[in-house]
């Protein structure tokens, strides 16, 4: 299988996505072993899976909802559902693909229930952004970005993302923020790579229009 493991991109900003083919077989089999142990009732094995995946899944839900507390609650539902459905997990897909799909489905349902009652509860920006080379290049090349307070920029960015449809926001989150490649996103969403590219294209066009002031 080719593709990229959904990285703890949010946990390790700027890290290069790791191709699955780059991952040692032992690590790839680690999830399978943990899942197998958890299925036989070993709760510590499931705890290990929670430890491993909760940061990146939290990031996925958080970028979709722009709300910390809602994301935290939703993530508990995600793992509870995963634990409950573990006996029916047949291993046709990787564990992370399966749990990503659960996460996205529950998040989509939540967003439908929430409707237009959007409120923001944003995480603090990590100070290590100061050393992000690519972001610094943007700051150097864009007067509006340089002149805007980071907190305001963060707010504008989140507002623009929330204007996207749920499907478009999902692909932007997974591709642009979490660094998951098209093929893997396609597997998670159950759509073709072409559909993923198409959604990304339209989402980028919409974001460029919404954030035009900062992209001059």
């Amino acid at each position: 299988m080719t593709g990229v493991i959904p990285l703890p991109a949010a946990a390790r900003p700027g890290a290069r996505p790791v191709r699955l083919v780059d991952v040692p077989p032992a690590e790839r089999g680690e999830d399978e072993a943990l899942v197998e142990r958890a299925r036989t009732g070993d709760s510590s094995a499931f705890d290990s899976l929670v430890r491993k995946y909760s940061p990146r899944l939290y990031a996925l839900v958080y970028h979709m909802t722009a709300h910390r507390e809602d994301s935290y609650d939703l993530l508990q539902e995600v793992f509870a559902k995963a634990y409950q459905n573990l006996p029916s997990f047949r291993g046709d897909s990787a564990f992370y693909t399966w749990i990503y799909s659960i996460t996205l489905n529950l998040t989509r349902n939540f967003l439908k229930r929430r409707g237009r009652r959007q409120t923001y509860s944003l995480e603090e920006l990590d100070s290590s952004i100061d050393s992000d080379r690519i972001f610094n290049a943007l700051v150097a090349s864009s007067d509006p970005v340089r002149e805007t307070d980071l907190r305001d920029l963060q707010r504008k960015l989140n507002e623009a993302l929330q204007r996207l449809s749920d499907d478009h926001r999902a692909v932007v989150t997974m591709f642009d923020i979490q660094g998951i490649p098209h093929a893997e996103i396609g597997r998670i969403l159950g759509v073709s790579t072409g559909t993923v590219r198409s959604r990304l294209h339209y989402a980028h066009r919409q974001l460029q229009a919404l954030l035009a002031d900062y992209l001059r």
Partner: protein, 165 residues
């Protein structure tokens, strides 16, 4: 940087919205509490459900069926044996004092039961006459022509007359 590169760079800002290094451990502890609470709620629901199911199971035991059949049989017998009001009294009962005190007094004075009331020479019934049923109007058959279904009551100081018109 072109516009697409600038957008990608701007989106990198989102990667720095982090919950903190101890997130995984904190979340795990919180998840354990969540699971326990969920399990307790589930246990409560399961307990109530089991009680309902056990109650329904009890209804399927033979002695409950026999008891229910016996109770049904007793109820049927009780309804059948309940004393009914006697509706077969004399026809004079239809001549109510409330409705026709004069007729009742008059007929009682003459010692005539209503079935024996007859029209006089002028075709009049006694003042205050009230039939207990439409069929008990003397001469009703003769008065009703073919097709007529109603007799009208005509009161006069000398007596009562029934007429199809």
């Amino acid at each position: 940087m072109d516009e697409q590169e600038k957008l990608s760079a701007l989106l990198r800002l989102k990667r720095y919205e982090l919950p903190g290094d101890d997130f995984a451990e904190t979340f795990l502890a919180s998840f354990h509490r969540y699971q326990r609470a969920r399990q307790e709620r589930r246990n409560a629901v399961v307990e109530v459900w089991e009680r309902i199911v056990n109650g329904l199971e009890a209804l399927r035991r033979p002695w409950v069926s026999w008891a229910a059949a016996g109770a049904y049989g007793l109820a049927v017998l009780a309804v059948a044996a309940w004393p009914q009001p006697d509706r077969s009294g004399p026809r004079t009962a239809a001549l109510s004092l409330d409705h026709a005190p004069l007729a009742a007094l008059s007929l009682a004075a003459k010692g005539l039961p209503p079935a024996e009331v007859e029209v006089d020479e002028e075709g009049l019934l006694p003042v205050g006459f009230r039939p207990d049923t439409p069929e008990s109007i003397p001469g009703r058959t003769a008065l009703l022509a073919a097709g007529d279904r109603t007799l009208h009551r005509l009161n006069s100081p000398r007596g009562i007359r029934y007429s199809p018109e």
